[in-house]
Amino acid sequence: MAGVALEDVTKVYDDGTVAVSNLALDIEDGEFMVLVGPSGCGKTTALRMVAGLETITAGEVRIAERVVNRVPPKDRDIAMVFQNYALYPHLTVADNLGFSLRLHKVPRAEIKRRVTDIARILGLEDLLNRKPRALSGGQRQRVAMGRAIVRDPEAFLMDEPLSNLDAKLRVQMRAEIARIQHDLGTTTIYVTHDQTEAMTMGDRVAVMRRGELQQVDHPQALYEHPVNLFVGGFIGSPAMNLVEGVLEHDDEQSGVLWARLGEQRLRLADSLLADRPTLHRYAGRGVAVGIRPEDLKDASMTTGPADGQRLRVSVGLVERMGAETYVHFTLDAKPVFTEDTRELVRERAEMTDNVLEQRGQAPHSECVARVQPRTEAREGEQLELAVDTSHVYFFDLETGQAIDDAASPAPGAAPDGRGDHGGTG
């Protein structure tokens, strides 16, 4: 087992498309690293370069301290799980599992022992003599996992291995893969477009966009301190509400900062300002204000939210999940409409650009609150929301960068800011 390092790795295709640019990533021995991003962000290309299935235009890939740029896949000692599993259709489950061992001339008895072991771990014992076509999707997925595990490689590479499963099975396998990886302690690079998978599985998560690494950090740090609008909007489900606002100093108390959203104002919590003194420099300027849905509650059900912690909104759709209720609402403030948010909306809602433009120009924003299950909010009515003003996010409208003294700098901005910078602040 060993770490995997990518040093300024770039991939330019023959037609000039830059799929990955200057990707720098240090994956420690035994670490579970998730590469996440919208489709076309270069995450799969990055993975394939580590696997040796794609040539590296520039930069260096090292596995276990060995530069492998020119090493063919078969000599890299890595195992890969493909999105469509790529099981050998002409071989039984047992032969699929033992395929690589046979190629490596492992003695027959040893192969049998290891295949049986893996089959037991994955619950495939009864299926060993079946061909892949006689398996269900979940079982095929398991065999694909088993084929990787059985080899005991330096690293696992997984390319959206769960995307072909139904929702329930996906949740189940998510936990199982994480558990197996934890038990084996094998360095893993896991590619997904699903931020929930990224958050739940990764020791660290690398968010990519258009071939560029945006931020690498532990899931919670990523969630609490996104470096820019893109990461803020991408991580979290339902997504962070992003509206335009203006920061204002209080006339009487100079230490107090207000965020004006349309006609309403939020008073920023002292703890927030203590953590992010830079916010004061933005006083009098427009910023992007991000509020996560769970930081919005039904005010009538909480005890005394102070003035400046309330927002009056008109309620749209109300989705009752049982344990919580999603209240969709419109807020009288312009939505944030930058390249970042446009891409996010496109990724999530697949809207046409026309609809997108109209939304962006609207004077009010569509938002979501994740409130108490027994709220009495009803569609078409007004609702007062209590805002946790210690957990509001701010971004520079022009650069899209977070106004957050604790957020790790994006690697692009700081050339040597790669690797583990655990900015949990």
Binding site: A51, G52, L53, P72, P73, K74, R76, I78, A79, M80, F82, Q83, N84, A86, Y88, P89, H90, L91, F99, S100, L103, H104, R120, L122, G123, L124, E125, D126, L127, A134, L135, S136, G138, Q139, R142, R147, R151, L169, Q172, E176
Partner: protein, 298 residues
């Protein structure tokens, strides 16, 4: 995850049909089967005719049709077969046919498969243009090559030799072989090859352990096509094989006379020459059908 949940999600295996179910199905498909049987019989009739005729003495064959033997089975005799199997001309020709057909088939399948793999999955400069060239060769009629190749063989000293006939068949079989197999191989999912490479397979291993087994239907159909074509070929053999190396087709033709025929030789010889392709066809027919369908879908 426990084994219990795994078995719970087991894919359904079709349950064994009961005897009654099978009977019901057979009856409901009766009319279709009847039509198929009639077609098969009509197809089979000439073959049976040839077989029966080959079993009749020449004196009878000259006077009455073969069906007379169906009512008068005393006519049937193995005398014709005994004679031709003793005739060195025919047995030698039979051997020659085998010696030509087997290498010509193997050669086309092996070389064709290797070339097709390269065309489908190995990146090299000018690959696509080269493939277009191969496809273009498909439309070259063999007749235009007869004279130049004959001259070439003369220089090489293999004119009249079995090796010359084999070489010619291999050369003209390859464009179609490469075309058919490349298109089949190209449809194998890329990830399958990548998985094998990551699992530790060299290109040759990928070819042997993944491509060949998966391409079996296409390989089998190609083998049948090529085998039948070479086995039944007369033109190439007539031009390039001298008398001692002539295959059955040439030998049978030499028994033709201007007035009437040597039926006691042609009959059994023709039936014998039919028997082998028939056996090959039945041995591979399972793949043959698959091979035709495969490649057209997915």
């Amino acid at each position: 995850m426990s084994a219990a949940t795994a078995t719970a999600s087991t894919a359904p295996i079709p349950p064994r049909e009961s005897w009654a179910q099978r009977m019901t199905r057979a009856v409901s498909r009766g009319p279709l089967h009847l039509v198929l049987i009639v077609i098969a019989l009509v197809w089979l009739l000439p073959t049976v005719g040839l077989l029966v005729a080959s079993l009749r003495p020449p004196s009878e064959s000259a006077q009455t049709g073969w069906w007379k033997a169906l009512t008068d089975t005393s006519q049937l005799t193995f005398e014709n077969y005994r004679q031709i199997l003793d005739d060195p001309l025919i047995t030698q020709a039979f051997w020659n046919t085998v010696l030509i057909t087997v290498p010509a088939t193997l050669g086309v399948v092996v070389i064709g498969a290797l070339a097709a793999y390269a065309f489908a999955w190995i990146d090299f400069r000018g690959r696509d243009w080269l493939f277009v060239g191969v496809v273009a060769l498909l439309v070259v009629p063999i007749q235009v090559a007869l004279i130049p190749v004959a001259k070439l063989y003369g220089t090489l000293g293999i004119f009249g030799d079995i090796s010359g006939v084999v070489l010619f068949h291999v050369a003209f079989g390859l464009p179609f072989a490469v075309f058919l197999l490349r298109n089949f191989f190209a449809q194998i999912p890329r990830e399958l090859l990548e998985a094998a490479r990551i699992d530790g397979a060299s290109e040759l291993k990928v070819f042997r352990t993944v491509i060949l087994p998966i391409g079996l239907p296409a390989l089998a159909s190609l083998a049948i096509f090529q085998f039948l074509w070479v086995w039944n070929d007369l033109l190439v053999a007539l031009v390039f094989a001298d008398t001692s190396n002539a295959p059955l087709t040439v030998a049978i033709r030499s028994q033709m006379r201007q007035f009437g025929t040597n039926f006691d030789i042609i009959g059994p010889a023709a039936f014998l020459s039919m028997l082998v392709p028939l056996a090959v066809f039945f041995a591979f027919q399972r793949y043959f059908v698959q091979g035709i369908l495969a490649g057209s879908e997915r």
